[in-house]
Structure formats: structure tokens, C-alpha cells
């Protein structure tokens, strides 16, 4: 029974890892890519670590796996925040072009 739960958690985690990777390659903008990588990849490694915590029936190993899960959950938003802040302060050329295009589109109805 435990084997089936662990196996399903592993495959689910790998599926989310693939979703995160495809999102990082296919989405058009740094902020959208960050959205894919931060959330889906953290969920993927958390699911896999939960599977390991269930699989090894040993309290020290389970504590280690849960500590790794908590660490990932705490650091992923901080890392994403730092990348996002750096990006917003730098603004790549295509993002600036996108901002200008949307600004023109919103100004047109008024004029």
C-alpha cells in the first residue's frame, strides 16, 4: 500500500517538474517564466520529498525530508522575489516595448 502511494507521488512530482520546465521554455516573458519555475518546480520537489518521507520508515530520515520541504517552501518565494526585483529594475528591451504598446493601446480610446 505504501509503495503504491509513494510511486504515485513520484510520478506526480515528475509530471509537475515537466510542466515547470515546459513553462520556462515556452512562456514569453521573464516574469511568466518565473511563475512557472517557482511554483511548479517547488511543488514537484515537495511531492517527491513527501514520497521519500513516507517511503523510509525511519523518524530521522522523515525529519530530514520534512526539513528539506520546509526549507524549499521558505526559500522559493525569497529567491523569486530577488530575481523579480532585479528584473523589474533592469527591464529587458522586449518588456519595455510591450509596456509601450499597452500604454498606446490604453491611450487610444481616450483620444
Amino acid at each position: 500500500m505504501i509503495e503504491i502511494v509513494v510511486g504515485l507521488l513520484m510520478v506526480l512530482g515528475a509530471g509537475f517538474a515537466l510542466v515547470a520546465a515546459i513553462g520556462v521554455v515556452r512562456l514569453p516573458d521573464v516574469l511568466m517564466r518565473m511563475h512557472a519555475s517557482t511554483k511548479a518546480a517547488t511543488l514537484a520537489s515537495n511531492l517527491v520529498l513527501l514520497g521519500a518521507a513516507i517511503y523510509f520508515r525511519d523518524s530521522t530520515v522523515t525529519a530530514k525530508a520534512i526539513a528539506a520541504m520546509l526549507f524549499l517552501l521558505l526559500t522559493a518565494p525569497i529567491a523569486a522575489h530577488m530575481i523579480g526585483r532585479a528584473y523589474v529594475r533592469l527591464r529587458s528591451p522586449d518588456r519595455v516595448r510591450y509596456d509601450r504598446a499597452t500604454a498606446e493601446n490604453t491611450e487610444q480610446p481616450r483620444a
Binding site: G7, A20, S45, A86, L90, S92
Partner: protein
């Protein structure tokens, strides 16, 4: 199919999936185009290598690899934080030149 066989198949499928995801993430790291894209791809790869190491610890039934997981998570976070600080710092040192501020290419 016994539960043991099911777990063995699932672990191998998960290992292949996570490895494929790391390879796809490497595409973004190689393509760029900006420094921020590369930092995002590196962050993704660090988190996925954590997942890979965990799956591998179940494949070989050796919980020692969970120590590797803890260290990798720490190093991955520090690398991402350091790279983000570096990217920000480089702009501040380039001064208030607008053309430089808007560009984040390598």
C-alpha cells in the same frame, strides 16, 4: 503487478521525467536571451536536481542522498540570491544611463 514492481516502475518513470525536465530547463539556460532568464533557468535546475536526488535515494533505497538534498537546496538558494544581487548591482554601477538600464543582455 505487486506493489514493489509498481514502485520500481514509478521510480524509473519519475527519474526519466525529472531528467527530461532538467534537460528542457537547460535549453532556456543556453538560449537566454537575458541574464534574468538564465538566473530563472538555473534556479529551476537547482530545484529539479533536488527532486532528482530524492528520487535516486528511493531508487537505490539509501537515505544518505537526503543529506545531499538538504545541501543542494541551501546552495541553490544561495546561488540564486547571489546571482540576483549581482544582476542588480551591475545596473547600479552602470549609472543612470537609460539605454544601459533598459538592456539586460550579456
Amino acid at each position: 503487478m505487486t506493489p514493489e514492481v509498481f514502485l520500481a516502475v514509478c521510480v524509473r518513470v519519475a527519474l526519466a521525467g525529472v531528467l527530461l525536465a532538467i534537460a528542457i530547463g537547460f535549453l532556456r539556460l543556453a538560449k537566454g536571451p537575458s541574464l534574468a532568464d538564465r538566473v530563472v533557468a538555473l534556479d529551476l535546475m537547482a530545484v529539479l536536481i533536488v527532486a532528482f536526488s530524492t528520487v535516486y535515494s528511493i531508487l537505490v533505497a539509501d537515505p544518505t542522498f537526503l543529506d545531499v538534498v538538504l545541501v543542494l537546496a541551501l546552495i541553490g538558494f544561495l546561488a540564486t540570491a547571489a546571482l540576483a544581487r549581482y544582476a542588480e548591482r551591475r545596473v547600479l554601477e552602470n549609472g543612470a544611463d537609460e539605454t544601459k538600464l533598459e538592456r539586460m543582455d550579456d
